[in-house]
Symmetry: C2
Subunit: 257 residues, 2 copies
């Protein structure tokens, strides 16, 4: 979905850190950075990337999320990467046999938003492409986050998991904000305009001999009014529809000649 | 996040159709199919794919989402692709100057779930990689769906948009279902066990001369009890913690000799 507004400045408001633990492929780091940028995250931390850092593959896959890539911090251990954070949630797709709460992305988003709105720092920890996080790493977190995937097809790549969690964070964080754009719903029609349109249509239908059985006219009129009311015409649309009626009426009258 | 349970059968329960309008790259079709499979969608329809169909690139990028790829239907026009559906939502990232409602993924999910639970069929329409949908295509839909992206970095690829909307559909559709796995939270501790642990700790601290000012003992005890209560120990963890106290006590007593 193309739609970047280049007149907007990147927003560096507080947001969760994303910590990628020993990512194997630079491309995955890049696509994760892009997913972060889409939803307003910018603090990317990498623990011991296998292909080293900086990474051309990451920069290329980030598709211009340079403000994320250029600020990446690299650490030797997860402990160092999360040292300044107050809340860490570990993402994992499998059971650990630990005494630990397991939450979905929506509950995770609430905890992240509340932590950050309270002035503290929060992060989401993601594991290796092949086998995720080990139990020692998971134990550094307050809770496990897992996605409500289809059990028979549960394998998400890292960037996709980052995308869903970044989306959920933004949805929760900006839940009372407007969407990026809205359409004009037009000047609302008054009931007078709507009723005028109904009368116009019904007169036209009378003229066209639509109501063949007099006793059925009231219920047919009610049905037609209900159908059209559901469309919620605005004032402009009422005028358009009256134009439609008038055009059909004229055609009908031409037909009669 | 690795975690596919191969003992589970693919679930073909009713779910929204995904309609990709004139996708340019087979790889994007494949990654969209994979995103669908992650969240239990399986009805993929393609309008006029530029690289033709079937596509090896799509099959490869789908990462084993064969049950989606093998069922793909190809159409010449959007009209044909959506002919059997009852509700169609069009995804777009930019304003159209149409009289049309614009909703977020969460509201879209509610409408999709309600339509499908009512026995009708619903779909999500996605546009071309470069420039999305044209206005004639958008006009076939009941509403526009847009993602709450960062305005300065709004460009999502198709598979990512599919992923977020598929996730939202599943979240809404399965909102009272359990997550794919849960951890054992252990046998809950009784208050008697918790209080026994508190007494054990406080006796040990008395023995160690921790409470140097008698008048402060009650408030310090209260603080420590509140701290530990927040951890919500289960019965096993109470025993573990009493072991910790006992070990430290012994060390302290050894130290005194």
């Amino acid at each position: 979905m193309a739609g970047t507004d280049k007149t907007n400045k990147i927003n560096f408001a507080p947001s969760p850190a994303i910590i990628l633990c020993e990512p194997q492929l630079g491309e995955n780091i890049g696509t994760a950075a892009r997913a972060m940028a889409n939803f307003g995250l910018h603090d990317l931390r990498i623990v011991n990337p296998r292909e080293g850092w900086p990474s051309e593959k990451a920069a290329s896959a980030a598709a211009k999320a340079d403000h994320v890539i250029n600020k990446v911090q690299v650490f030797d251990t997860v402990e160092e990467a999360i040292a300044d954070l107050n809340l860490v949630l570990a993402t994992t797709a499998r059971k650990r046999d630990m005494f630990k709460p397991v939450i979905g992305p929506d509950e995770a988003a609430v905890r992240l938003v509340n932590t950050i709105k309270g002035g503290a720092k929060a992060g989401l920890l993601f594991g290796r492409e092949r086998w995720g996080l080990n139990n020692k790493e998971v134990a550094l977190s307050e809770a496990i986050v897992t996605l409500p995937v289809e059990p028979a097809f549960a394998s998400l790549n890292i960037a996709q998991a980052v995308l869903v969690l970044a989306y959920e964070w933004r949805r929760e964080n900006a839940k009372n904000d407007p969407l990026p754009f809205d359409e004009n719903v037009g000047e609302p029609a008054t009931k007078g305009e709507i009723i005028g349109m109904f009368n116009h249509l019904e007169n036209a239908l009378d003229g066209a001999g639509f109501f063949t059985v007099d006793e059925k006219r009231p219920s047919m009129v009610t049905n037609i009014r209900n159908m059209l009311n559901r469309a919620g015409f605005n004032a402009q649309e009422v005028r358009t529809f009256r134009g439609v009626i008038a055009a059909l009426e004229r055609k009908h009258e031409r037909g009669k000649k």
